[in-house]
């Protein structure tokens, strides 16, 4: 198969981990006789520094002309505490999601058998957890109108959703549930928010088309609690943008490290694959960043194009590295000398 892949390493640890994912994909290509072409472009803080724009036109252009995007991470603290900053690295990511129509962010959460002891949660709580989170990614309060009053003393963000926005991701989530354990949980705050009530209404109506899926509802505050009390109760979770951001980062503790969690952001035309972790600038260039989330994002990319054996091989390689403890310090208590590159090398060799 021929695939053009745009590689957007971004900021902080983004470049290091993305490099390992590209290595894994290259190994897969040579093993299976595929032809993967990688083109690197700037996004985020580094793009602001170089081009004055968090998402330069060339980058967006490139993305629109590739089959898939491999994304690293974005963000730099020098912009976080400057409320008056006019450009922000995150705008690059948000604009990319919006322009490419990547409305569904899919985040699998799994408790790896070999890592059960690494989690802050007790083993019996997490063992067997297997959740797929469907987070809406191009709507809600992230993209609603933002206002700052003239005098700078009042600020607002609008959270808005339309039936179409809800329906298209809900359908994906229903289908995912059909292919899994047939259970779908909508997380919302319908006892307070008008937009949540619309979510509940639309999803309830759609449920009639998927009679084999058991639908239930959970308020987001309760969901944040249930995710820790009993994560095994969940199969597919569907939720809006902001709640999905919070709940999926929270859920990362189940796997033992956020450095393991991959995600796919898909739309009608394009697809992007990225770790759910951030840019962790304080860890950059130290060789301690866990590349597995990025490598597993590459596996999701392969699955997306139907290359299931290839994806499975990457996953196998990852599980092997975990079993052999060839892992970065975040999940390696015994040996803190294994570097980002070491992990990538092992997975490349294994493939």
């Amino acid at each position: 198969m021929n695939l053009n892949i745009a590689v957007l390493p971004g900021d902080g640890i983004g470049p290091e981990v993305t490099k390992q994912a590209v290595k894994a994909l290259t190994a897969i290509a040579s093993e299976y006789n595929h032809n993967f072409k990688f083109t690197v472009a700037d996004v985020g803080a580094i793009a602001i520094d170089k081009h004055g724009d968090a998402l330069p036109d060339e980058t967006l252009e490139l993305c629109k002309n590739t089959d898939a995007i491999l994304f690293g991470a974005i963000g730099d603290p020098k912009y976080d505490n400057d409320p008056s900053a006019k450009v922000r690295p995150e705008q690059g990511l948000l604009k990319l999601r919006k322009e490419m129509g990547l409305f569904a962010n899919i985040r699998p959460v799994k408790a790896y058998q070999t890592l059960l002891d690494k989690s802050p949660l007790k083993k019996h709580i997490i063992e067997g957890t297997d959740i797929s989170i469907y987070r809406e990614l191009t709507g809600g309060i992230y993209f609603g109108e933002k206002q700052l009053s003239e005098d700078g003393n009042t600020a607002s963000d609008l959270c808005t959703y339309s039936r179409e926005e809800i329906e298209r991701i809900a359908r994906l989530a229903f289908v995912a549930a059909q292919n899994r354990d047939h259970r779908l949980t909508l997380v919302d705050k319908a006892n307070v928010l008008e937009s949540s009530r619309l979510w509940r209404k639309v999803v309830k109506e759609l449920a009639e088309e998927y009679p084999d899926v058991k639908l239930d509802f959970l308020f987001v505050d309760n969901a944040a609690m249930q995710m820790i009390l009993n994560p095994k109760q969940f199969d597919v979770i569907l939720t809006e943008n902001m709640f999905g951001d919070i709940i999926s980062d929270e859920a990362s503790v189940i796997g033992g490290s956020i450095g393991l969690l991959a995600s796919a952001s898909v739309g009608d035309k394009y697809a992007m694959f990225e770790p759910i972790h951030g840019s962790y600038p304080q860890a950059a260039n130290k060789g301690i960043a866990n590349p597995i989330a990025s490598i597993l994002s590459a596996a999701m990319l392969l699955s997306h194009f139907g290359l299931h054996n290839e994806a499975e091989l990457i996953r196998l390689a990852v599980e092997k590295s975990l079993k052999l403890n060839i892992t970065t310090p975040d999940i390696n208590a015994e040996n803190d000398t294994v570097t980002t590159t070491n992990v990538g090398d092992f997975i490349e060799d294994f493939i």
Copy 2:
């Protein structure tokens, strides 16, 4: 001391647990020669059923003419899945908060030594945790303009904050930090939301007046993760309404049961005390509801009026009941026959 206390039991398990808190307060009054006068009023689903209004005028009137409010719980599933319901139990609570100006919800989160094993989190993670969450309670997306389009296909909620709204609760949080471990963490989403950037700006400015408090910032997604990875890192957490709702429910897992968490909602003139748990209708009238959150809310009420010894006595009684395992099934694996009333009786007798 003379205190007029409005008792608003509300829905589900509200009445049962509130009854135990009133018993505890009555015991305190007779032990310390105080004069507490309790007046009961309707709120929530029960108020809708009886008066067609989740917060009847008489109830609000009563609240405005008392020294403090003891609140139970609110909510009934028959309203949750009806997106077209015109009145909702929750409106009663929200209106009460707004009308009484209860802008700060204070939620202490503690790992009880005797309950360390009950938490889904590992003992070494939670041991020693002692957090005080300051959640803004009368602003943000809860109270911003809500819209549903004519055709019912678009819905929106506005999240808005003003400098004043932020300042008044931030000051309380800074002072709390001064009386504790001198650390304050603002939880926001300043990399995306305009309102969060205003929070960050205002809180940063205020920090200069409290040089003995170490201020830091955490994005809400990261905070949801850090709360589980390492809750001991937090002293005082300050956040807006919606994030506070999520983060504090999540934090309840640290204590082993949400049935233990009390809260105080305070404003310039009034104060209300309530468990953070909901109405759990499925547990109502079974004698299994944990009254401790409500009883500890009563202790917060006493502290609020400077009755610190009295509050301490209630806390002692609660700790004793935990130590002796005179607790409801949510935290009692060995003995599931202890009822709500049994716990209340023990605490009453102890006092």
